[in-house]
């Protein structure tokens, strides 16, 4: 049976993992390669790395940090931020990533999704979306709008229409990142996660807001997601007590979520 995935997400600035709240006020956590090595040893299922300032600073992604992280991570590794072309994607893959995450850039130039999927396969292209509840209105029938550039810019795109388009263009996975819930530890937005999972046939990843095991379990059951992105719960200094991957997974199994079993010796 295919199990559900627990994915650790890193927001990286200058080679270091940081932690934001609703896309703001990033505080420093640890060097990316150290945290990656620790979480790999703790048997995380997957790691996602966003170079969060590359896009705004109009520079290329920090390939050196990608390379250093990739050397410690023998589970899937996705990289995003500052990717503008198929050549950029190729550089990141050669640095040791398996998957490329596209977000704001894909909204501006949707063809990048098709070009990436044609060049490297659909499984390589993860469409990440920043969605916000705005209420159903003309042009936004689902009531969820897509935002870009660190949740600062509204696009006028309906979230469900955008993810369907992304799938058609060749995205192999969709990340639903709730702006309202990001860093709040109040749980994923299950309504939009479920709506996206129903709208597309590729795997869907819940993101933004996981504060406890119950939230993660809900995202993977009621939310209909195949994978859950967590960060604060694992390593945010704002949390009184962080949980290990092993603790999280055994608690998820108790909630009835199928997970990759923890190996006592590897």
């Amino acid at each position: 049976m295919l199990t559900k995935r627990l994915i650790a997400c890193f927001d990286v600035i200058d080679g270091r993992v940081t932690k934001a709240q609703q896309f703001q006020d990033n505080i420093d956590v640890a060097p990316a390669e150290d945290l990656a090595a620790r979480l790999y040893d703790d048997q995380i299922d997957e790691i996602v790395f966003y170079d969060i300032t590359a896009s705004a600073e109009k520079r290329k992604i920090d390939l050196e940090t990608v390379r250093r992280v990739a050397r410690h991570v023998f589970v899937p590794f996705t990289v995003g931020g500052g990717i503008r072309s198929v050549d950029d994607m190729f550089e990141v893959l050669k640095a040791g990533a398996e998957k490329i995450s596209v977000d704001s850039m894909a909204v501006r130039s949707p063809e990048i999704i098709r070009e990436g999927a044609d060049a490297f396969g659909r499984q390589c292209i993860v469409l990440s979306t920043q969605v916000k509840r705005v209420g159903a209105r003309s042009g936004i029938p689902s009531g969820y709008e897509v935002f870009i550039d660190g949740a600062r810019e509204a696009t006028g795109l309906d979230a469900l229409e955008w993810v369907r388009r992304g799938e058609e263009l060749g995205a192999g996975e969709i990340v639903v990142n709730s702006i309202d819930r990001d860093g709040t530890a109040s749980g994923y937005d299950l309504e939009v996660t479920r709506a996206v999972a129903d709208a597309v046939n590729v795997p869907v990843i819940a993101s933004g807001g996981a504060g406890d095991v119950g939230h993660i379990a809900a995202g993977l059951t009621d939310g209909g997601a195949q994978a859950a992105i967590v960060s604060s719960i694992l390593y945010s200094p704002r949390f009184d007590r962080n949980l290990g991957v092993r603790e999280l997974k055994s608690a998820l199994v108790e909630h009835g979520v199928p997970m990759r079993p923890y190996l006592e010796s590897t």
């Binding site: 049976m1 398996e98 060049a119 396969g121 590897t266």
Partner: protein, 203 residues
């Protein structure tokens, strides 16, 4: 020395990093004369079977690869698309494969969420030196929209369920291949790579 075949559509860096972590001597190879002298070969892969074969053909690697694996019988490990190209035919792009193994590559049913992405269980159906250190019913990382359907069931060394049961590990003589990404399957995946590195190609 383990030679990892390098081509544009591959994920060869990840395989190199994994072999380096195990302390194994390895290098990327991209020329026919390198493959002609290879002692041990890995064909990694992501993307589509046809694109992979085209890429190998354009780099003039196919003849050298076939000679070295099918005639000289050096140990060979295919990963993901490196498994799918071994069969006679793939439904992906309706394309012929290498035909080293009999059977076809088929697409998962439309009712399933495709690609299959994630950790799924492998049940080993017989013993083999490359999988000897792996517990039965253990989990590995898969990314695939197509699966192998070997004509000879003996070629299936491991089986996995996603809608249907399919051959997730195949082996015949000096060839072994995994549908899952051994280089991205954590400690057990690394263990399989270490066993492959020590294998003499016989079973």
């Amino acid at each position: 020395m383990i030679d990892v075949i390098d081509y544009r559509a591959g994920n060869s860096p990840s395989v190199i990093y994994a072999l380096e972590r195990l302390g194994l001597e390895c290098r990327l190879v991209a020329k026919p004369d390198e493959i002609a002298e290879s002692e041990r070969l890995v064909l990694p892969g992501v993307g589509a079977a046809a694109a992979t074969l085209d890429s190998l053909r354009e780099s003039d690697l196919l003849d050298a690869l076939t000679q070295r694996v099918q005639q000289d019988r050096v140990p060979f490990l295919g990963i993901c698309i490196g498994l799918q190209v071994l069969f006679e035919h793939s439904e992906e792009g309706n394309t012929p494969g290498l035909g080293w193994l009999s059977g076809r590559i088929r697409r998962f049913d439309d009712g399933l969420r495709v690609p299959q992405i994630g950790w799924n269980e492998v049940r080993f159906t017989r013993s083999h030196p490359v999988t000897a250190g792996l517990p039965d019913r253990s989990h590995y990382y898969f990314v695939n929209s197509y699966y192998a359907d070997p004509a000879d069931p003996v070629d299936a060394l491991g089986r996995t369920e996603y809608g249907i049961e399919f051959a997730s590990v195949v082996a015949r003589e000096n060839v072994v291949a995994t549908q899952f990404h051994a280089e991205k399957s954590g400690g057990l995946g690394l263990r399989l790579l270490a066993e492959f590195a020590a294998w003499d190609g016989r079973c």
